[in-house]
């Protein structure tokens, strides 16, 4: 008995050892993260690819680099206006975007603000590439696969479009555009690659948009944050405008806006915070639960959110621009020449300066104006822009009469007292551009428009604060700073393949 006991014990122990050893196969050490999923797994099913596409949309309003001023693509929108002449800072406040308004970021290769768009758009491109390259291999309905691929193509095109406009020299219509654009990457590799020419980048953008249009045509979308055929046509119109393909631009812009009616004047004054607005074509809706608080677009651009940024440095409209419009124009009615905004009942702690804009107002989840939240939907494309593109493009190819019909539709909506202009030629085009400046104020167009049109920046004579701008009031059209430097970290990591822009 005693012997058996011992033997049994030994055998039991030995079997424990053996089972340990034998179960120690390679999968024994397999652990997977539970807050993240490996890229391989994540691109293996249509559901997972759907979350990647969702992730790209989410990223459009997600804090980047841990900086509250770098919220997705909405921070880049702010940059694009801050670099222009129409968005005025009355004070330095807590210093957000002050180095941008001084044109220091685009000339400083080590600046985090210079790095931000480069970083952000290539992050989007990586995810788009994963979707484009893996979706054909997963099982799922063709319609769903087409939608996902179509959105990914749209994202990739939009990302390269922004990158090449920011980091490449301007596209010269009729030129060979061999100047350095940005590197083009179509897979998830990481070896450094050189910059492609601006022409090649635009070729890619157009190919992607064409692909996206084919895939998304006829597809419904769940809400306005997703792409559909109209939005892609809108992007095509923007691209054609930059490339000087005005006939195409006019056609695309016209097709794009079909189904989107211009908003009422009442809606115009509601604070630009609701993407169900009839003329919004593409926009994002930060929710209560996904709020970035001080990082949200409204935390910088609204008139009412109770942050030190808005209390101390509210956003002001260039007074020269304001004065070009009649008081019956609803677009001037969201600007208060006294800065008091009496109907908003702003507390005394808010700085009151003339010409502050209440185009953007923070609302709570119930849709009421609320100073304690920085929420509000963010517009990325509106039908008004399409009217303006169409009007400008038609005017530039000599179809001035047709152009005025389109332009009047918009102007009459904004200003019921509007009478079709008698201006012609360059003067007429300037009127369109002036309307564009006020219509799209705060929506991220001015720097890109100036660069597209090869125009100088001129802040002189307006209500700009010399201390805030550090006396940067004029930038000639040929200034190298219109082309942002490539981030130094990218140059350092590129093994000499990426050439820096001149300064």
């Amino acid at each position: 008995m005693k012997f058996i006991n011992k033997k049994t014990l030994f055998l039991a122990a030995a079997s424990v050892v053996l089972s340990m050893v034998s179960s120690c196969e390679r999968d024994y050490l397999e652990t997977d993260p539970t807050d993240a999923v490996s890229e391989q797994l994540a691109s293996g099913s249509i559901e997972n690819i759907n979350t990647i596409v969702n992730g790209m949309h989410r990223n459009m309003y997600y804090r980047q680099n841990g900086s509250q001023g770098q919220n997705g693509a909405t921070g880049i929108m702010i940059y694009m206006d801050v670099l222009g002449e129409d968005l005025v800072f009355p004070a330095t406040g807590p210093n957000w975007y002050v180095s941008t308004i001084r044109w220091l970021d685009n000339a400083n290769a080590s600046s985090g603000n210079l790095f931000y768009p480069y970083d952000f758009y290539y992050e989007q491109i990586r995810m788009a590439n994963i979707v484009i390259n893996n979706t054909p291999n997963v099982t799922g309905s063709q319609a769903e696969k087409d939608r996902l691929m179509g959105e990914a193509y749209a994202f990739r095109a939009q990302s390269y479009f922004m990158l090449v406009q920011i980091y490449g020299k301007r596209y010269v219509a009729g030129g060979n555009n061999a100047q350095d654009g940005v590197p083009l990457r179509f897979d998830n590799s990481f070896d450094p690659i050189p910059r492609s020419s601006v022409e090649e980048v635009y070729k890619t953008i157009n190919q992607d948009l064409t692909q996206g249009l084919t895939l998304l045509t006829g597809k419904a979308r769940s809400n306005k944050s997703h792409f559909n055929a109209n939005v892609i046509k809108g992007l095509m119109a923007r691209v054609a405008l930059v490339q000087g393909n005005y006939a195409q631009a006019a056609t695309y812009a016209n097709e794009a806006r079909q189904g989107f009616t211009l908003m009422t004047n009442t809606a115009y004054k509601a604070g630009f915070n609701n993407y169900t607005n009839s003329e919004w074509m593409w926009g994002y809706k930060p929710l209560d639960t996904t709020s970035d608080y001080f990082g949200n677009f409204m935390a910088y651009m609204s008139r009412n959110y109770n942050s030190s940024q808005i209390r101390q440095a509210p956003k002001v409209v260039n007074n020269l621009l304001f004065n070009k419009f009649a008081s019956t124009d609803v677009r001037t009615q969201v600007i208060d020449p006294t800065g008091k905004h009496t109907e908003l009942n702003l507390p005394s702690t808010y700085l009151k300066v003339p010409y502050t804009s209440q185009k953007f107002l923070s609302v709570n989840s119930g849709g009421t104006v609320d100073n304690s939240v920085s929420l509000g939907d963010v517009p990325f494309m509106r039908a008004a822009e399409m009217y303006l593109i169409e009007a400008e493009a038609l005017a530039r190819i000599g179809k001035e009469a047709e152009s005025k019909v389109v332009f009047t539709l918009l102007e009459k909506n904004r200003n019921p007292a509007y009478v079709t202009t008698t201006a012609t030629g360059a003067a007429y085009i300037t009127e369109i551009l002036t309307s564009r400046r006020l219509e799209l104020w705060g929506e991220g167009f001015r720097f890109l428009d100036l660069k597209r049109l090869n125009m100088a920046l001129d802040r002189t004579g307006a209500n700009h604060n010399a201390v805030v701008t550090n006396n940067v009031l004029q930038i000639p059209a040929n200034d190298p700073r219109w082309t942002w430097l490539i981030p130094q970290s990218e140059i350092d990591a590129s093994q000499g393949l990426i050439k820096q822009n001149e300064l």
């Binding site: 005693k2 006991n5 011992k6 014990l9 030994f10 122990a13 030995a14 050892v17 340990m20 050893v21 120690c24 390679r26 024994y28 050490l29 397999e30 652990t31 993260p33 539970t34 807050d35 993240a36 999923v37 490996s38 890229e39 391989q40 994540a42 997972n48 979350t51 990647i52 969702n54 992730g55 790209m56 949309h57 989410r58 990223n59 997600y62 970083d119 290539y122 992050e123 990586r126 995810m127 590197p183 990457r185 998830n188 990481f190 450094p192 690659i193 809400n223 944050s225 929710l287 639960t289 996904t290 970290s489 990218e490 140059i491 350092d492 990591a493 590129s494 093994q495 000499g496 990426i498």
Partner: protein
């Protein structure tokens, strides 16, 4: 027994002692036959059979007064082990560095092994912003039999991929055969800050300096006198932070926040005994320690039970359970938070009255004076506490298959539950903006280890002795966290999330890792003369990609006990030993090898994923090759003991974040590239000066040197080394220099004629500038002590004994990071906050020779990073002193007990700092910054030890 206890209770509350005190007398009677046995983790070896470098400290050596975790007791006692307190808040983590700093980005902390089981160690607190809580604080020092520090490859190769930073092996107490013995220790102690000489300005001093700064800035241009300075500012609508409202009454914030004679109280009881075939040890312990600032406190209840039983001739069973409960009230000391009481202590505006006229705390009017919170109020009305419950179970069965062949199986389970709760009141402080908030985080860490091993030792002839061990080990670790948060509390007294009215949210997380190893150990002894030692460990870790998981670690060592042959006349022991081997450091992030997408985003209520880690399938552990050689000796009838060791530790394949082209969508990828070398000497010498029956006196000293040098750094795309310290305005890392050496402009003093601060333009000497941006940064020395050591002595005269241990460290520099707040000479310090006494020495008129520039409201950069605030960190400290009295046997017999000892012990009673400008405690975190955390304490502790 009850009667005896009753008699003792009164005295018990007053004194502390320890079993060590009695043990000590026995220890002094050494006999040549008793050979020390060293616990090396998986195995034990006789000291003369060891080839590696290790230090074993027995219970009496680690019984440092006021030490809550055993690592605090290692300071100065184990050469080559640097112990830095991250904070003096009771229960805080100690930064331990064994033989220097080897890793650039991965962990530099040693592996901890408790009773043969590798455990998870480190900070278990819920956030880096609050006081840390060491998992080791859950182990009662009184339950520890010995601590062995394994330093070289021969000793640590058995721990393979985790041995690179050294290993600390903790062995807990077990029962001894024979009559059951009871042991009761109680102590009561009083603590104060050990070394804290930074004191704020009084209200009057601050007002005077503020006026002077205003006058210096505007007086001349606007034609007013200094006494009208405040009026001038008020008239011009400038913020004067209540200078015009101050009543003139002095408010001593420092005095209100400091807790004088903070109490520490311990009661430990244990019993130990055994019959022929079984032994048992059981203990209960209680520790209650206050901090020297109001707020944080530490409380621990612990119990241990160990039982061994010889089931049969061949089978032995051993099991132990350790349970502990800790409560710590953490404070926000991890940074410059407005609620950090140490910020309040130094930076609070002394014009602000802590109280209202009715005696309640001032929380409204105070905002006219300062943005710092009234910590007196927040500490009383907020809740912050961590509770750690830890249970360790360790069970082992030995089966002697045949003579000298033993099979052992062991299972260890370590469960840690940490419950953190934080409530910030809705009226004042961090919670005011959200009408109060409450958060709670519960995390569990589950560590499971199983080991199976075979040990065979045999002799070939009389002279050849072999000892072979084969071991299989598997370890799993799981970590789970649940977190909840809510804001907006409708009424007082409601502090739980259930009552929150807004922004409630919850989250949970799970991480795990696994480890599987095969270990072979070989030990050969020839006639007790030669020792040959070899270890090989095949280790696999889930932290790496498939195909890269397993690695082989090894060591070889040899020793020659010369006293057996050549020097037998001179030495009792004289041995030379050496070893070489390869170990690893797998302290890298989980799943860092694979490209992953994160899913914590939410897109309009739908799941959304985004790229999170680029991954590197080639990722592997950092490696370490160490050469170690040394001698050990005992002579003069064992009265003289000594050792000497040299080590050369080369760590390579160090992880560095190498920049990627951003066009890949990622900025960095972790790669194994860098290399660092640590070299040094370690020496120890001890002598029993007097060795008589009634009078003994011994003294011993140890010293270790350390030379740290970066040898390789990863290169960026253009072939330039990647600086792991890039972006730091304090440090720099480059090949040929120590990791993170101080790199900043050199302070040149204050210009005698203008009162402007000046720095050397070239960073060394010659031309000076008042524009900091024009001054070059320069190598100002290392933050890693070049030498550390200790001196200890013990005297016994009849029944009275005195022990003392001194610790010293030097050759390094420490930086006073908070000088940027309290040593500014502008309105930041003189208006909004408060400065320190040194500002009184400011420059006032041409000819003044001083180190503090002219006051001005304009920013002068005086406070900015430069060698101005960098001090020689050399210091020495009397770590502990014990004066005790063993009541003579004749007296205790009357009481019917076996032993009684009374003692008075002191901790950190004396501190010497070389640099007179260093006014904060010289013990800093391993990175070398003095911070505004709870400083180490100076304590006097009275104790009594009873055996019966």
């Amino acid at each position: 027994m009850n009667v005896k206890l009753g008699v003792l209770t009164a005295g018990a509350l007053f004194f502390l002692g320890s079993q060590s005190i009695l043990a000590q007398q026995k220890d002094t009677i050494k006999t040549a036959d008793v050979e020390e046995v060293v616990v090396l983790g998986y195995v034990k070896r006789k000291a003369t059979e060891v080839t590696g470098s290790s230090v074993q400290l027995t219970s009496e050596k680690i019984n440092t007064p006021a030490a809550i975790s055993v690592d605090q007791a290692l300071q100065g006692k184990a050469p080559g082990v640097q112990v830095n307190a991250s904070s003096g808040t009771p229960g805080s983590v100690q930064d331990i560095r064994i033989r220097g700093v080897g890793s650039l980005t991965a962990s530099n902390s040693p592996l901890y092994v408790i009773d043969g089981i590798p455990v998870v160690n480190g900070n278990t607190s819920a956030s880096a912003n609050i006081s840390s809580l060491s998992t080791l604080a859950s182990i009662n020092n009184q339950d520890i039999e010995s601590v062995t520090v394994l330093k070289d490859a021969s000793a640590t190769a058995a721990y393979g991929a985790r041995g690179s930073n050294g290993v600390i092996v903790i062995t807990t107490k077990r029962g001894k055969k024979g009559k059951t013995r009871y042991n009761l220790n109680t102590s009561i102690g009083f603590q104060n800050d050990a070394f804290s000489k930074r004191h704020g300005l009084t209200g009057a001093e601050k007002l005077d300096l503020f006026k002077e700064a205003i006058f210096n800035t505007y007086g001349k241009d606007y034609g007013f006198t200094k006494d009208k300075a405040i009026d001038f500012m008020v008239a011009n609508r400038q913020n004067v932070n209540g200078a015009n409202l101050w009543t003139g009454e002095e408010y001593d914030w420092e005095g209100l926040l400091v807790k004088k004679n903070a109490l520490s109280n311990t009661i430990d009881f244990n019993m130990s005994g055994g019959a022929e075939k079984s032994t048992m040890y059981a203990s209960l312990g209680y520790n209650n320690t206050e901090a020297t600032v109001i707020g944080p406190a530490f409380e621990r209840l612990s119990g241990a039970f160990r039982y061994t039983n010889q089931i049969s001739e061949k089978v032995t069973f051993e099991t132990s359970m350790n349970g502990s409960w800790i409560k710590q009230n953490p404070i926000l000391e991890g940074g410059s938070f407005f609620s950090n009481p140490f910020i309040t202590k130094v930076l609070m505006n002394p014009w602000a009255n802590p109280y209202n006229a009715d005696g309640s705390y001032n929380i409204s009017d105070i905002t006219k004076f300062t943005s710092i919170h009234n910590s007196l109020y927040t500490l009383e009305n907020n809740i912050a506490r961590s509770k750690l419950i830890r249970g360790i179970s360790n069970t082992k069965v030995d089966y002697e298959i045949m003579k000298n062949l033993t099979f052992t199986t062991r299972i260890g389970i370590d469960l840690q539950l940490n419950d953190y709760r934080n409530y910030a009141n809705r009226y004042h402080g961090d919670g005011a903006g959200t009408k109060g908030y409450s958060e709670r985080q519960m995390s569990t860490n589950y560590n499971w280890v199983t080991q199976n091993s075979l040990n065979y030792n045999f002799r070939v002839g009389d002279l050849h002795r072999f000892d072979l061990t084969a071991l299989f080990e598997h370890q799993r670790n799981q970590d789970e966290t649940l977190y909840g948060y809510g804001e907006s509390f409708p009424a007082d007294g409601l502090t739980n999330i259930a009552s929150a009215g807004a922004n409630k949210n919850a989250s949970s997380s799970f991480t795990n890792w696994k480890n599987t190893s095969y270990l072979g150990m070989f030990n050969y002894t020839f006639d007790n003369r030669f020792v040959l030692d070899a270890t090989i460990r095949e280790e696999g870790s889930s932290r790496f990609a498939e195909g890269k998981r397993f690695g082989t670690f090894w060591s070889v060592g040899a020793a020659y006990n010369l006293h057996r042959d050549l020097l037998a006349n001179v030495f009792d022991i004289f041995r030379i030993r050496g070893s070489y081997g390869l170990t690893g450091n797998s302290g890298v992030g989980l799943n860092a090898y694979q490209a992953v997408l994160a899913y914590d985003a939410d897109y309009a209520g739908n799941g959304a994923s985004y790229a999170s880690v680029f991954g590197n399938p080639d990722l592997t552990w950092e490696k370490n090759k160490t050469v170690d050689a040394g001698i050990e000796f005992e002579a003069l009838d064992r009265r003289l003991t000594g050792s000497f060791a040299y080590f050369n530790k080369y760590t390579y394949d160090l992880l560095q974040n190498v920049p990627l082209s951003r066009t890949s969508g990622f900025a960095i990828q972790a790669q194994n590239v860098g290399a660092v070398r640590n070299t040094g000497f370690e020496a120890m010498l001890g002598y029993d000066i007097i060795k008589m029956e009634d009078f003994t006196w011994n003294i011993s000293a140890n010293i270790a040197t350390l030379d740290n040098k970066v040898e390789t750094l990863a290169l960026d795309g253009n072939g330039n080394p990647i600086n792991p310290s890039s972006g730091s305005s304090y440090k720099n890392t480059e090949v040929g220099k120590p990791i993170g050496y101080w790199f900043m402009p050199t302070w040149a003093g204050v210009n005698v004629d203008t009162g402007a601060p000046e720095w050397f333009i070239n960073g060394v000497d010659g031309d000076r500038t008042s524009n900091l941006n024009l001054a070059q940064r320069y190598d100002q020395g290392t933050s890693i002590p070049k030498y550390t050591g200790g001196v200890s002595t013990g005297i016994t005269v009849k029944n009275v004994f005195l022990n003392a241990n001194l610790y010293f460290a030097g050759g390094h520099k420490v930086y006073e990071q908070y000088a940027q707040f309290y040593m500014r000479t502008n309105s930041f310090t003189l208006g909004s906050y408060n400065g320190v006494q040194e500002l009184l020495e400011r420059w006032q008129k041409p000819g003044d020779v001083t180190d503090v520039p002219k006051l001005s409201l304009v920013n002068d950069n005086f406070h900015a990073t430069s060698s101005r605030h960098l001090y020689d960190g050399t210091f020495a400290r009397l770590k502990d002193v014990t004066l005790g009295y063993n009541v003579p046997n004749s007296a205790i017999r009357v009481l019917g007990i076996d032993g009684l000892a009374l003692s008075v012990r002191g901790s950190n009673l004396w501190t010497w700092v070389k640099d007179k400008n260093l006014l904060l405690d010289p013990e800093t975190s391993a990175a070398g910054y003095t911070t505004l955390t709870t400083p180490p304490v100076k304590a006097v502790i009275f104790g009594v030890n009873v055996k019966f």
